[in-house]
Amino acid sequence: MSILLAIFLGLVILVLAGTAIYHKNTKVAIIAAGAVGLFASVLYILLAAPDVALTEASIGSGLSTIIFFYVLNKIRQTND
């Protein structure tokens, strides 16, 4: 049963990674990269690594998105 869940999560991760690479809007690409980190964290729990899943959920999905949007905000302020 966990194998089917792993296949589902892998397909979702690949679709989100393709969205992150090929979408024209940069903000959508950043949100898709954050969602890749989110589902990778669920995959780490299936692989019996809850500590890695905790770190990935807080850093790969939360803090990474915040840093990307901070830089986008700085770029937008430079234009003004």
Partner: protein, 86 residues
């Protein structure tokens, strides 16, 4: 009996995540994607709790706790960026 009902619940949660992913790919604006991201996060908390039940370990619930605490932060940052600036 109990395991069958819980597997059906897991399948329904996976279908919910799949529909949110559909809106994520299709959505015409950034805010639609942010809402789809929020729904995927909240559904993932339930999936993690189900995995913790099937594995029989209480330590997996800590990850769901961190999700519930920190998932709203990135959505708040997206909203503030769209509104006027961080």
């Amino acid at each position: 009996m109990v395991n069958t009902i819980l597997i059906m619940a897991g399948v329904l949660m996976a279908l919910g995540i799949l529909l949110a992913l559909f809106r994520f790919i299709l959505g015409p604006d950034v805010t639609d994607r942010a809402i789809a991201f929020d729904v995927m996060t909240v559904s993932s908390i339930s999936v993690i709790a189900l995995i913790a039940y099937f594995a029989g370990r209480v330590i997996y619930l800590d990850v769901a706790l961190v999700y519930g605490l920190l998932s709203f932060l990135s959505v708040v940052v997206i909203g503030r960026y769209i509104e006027r600036g961080l």
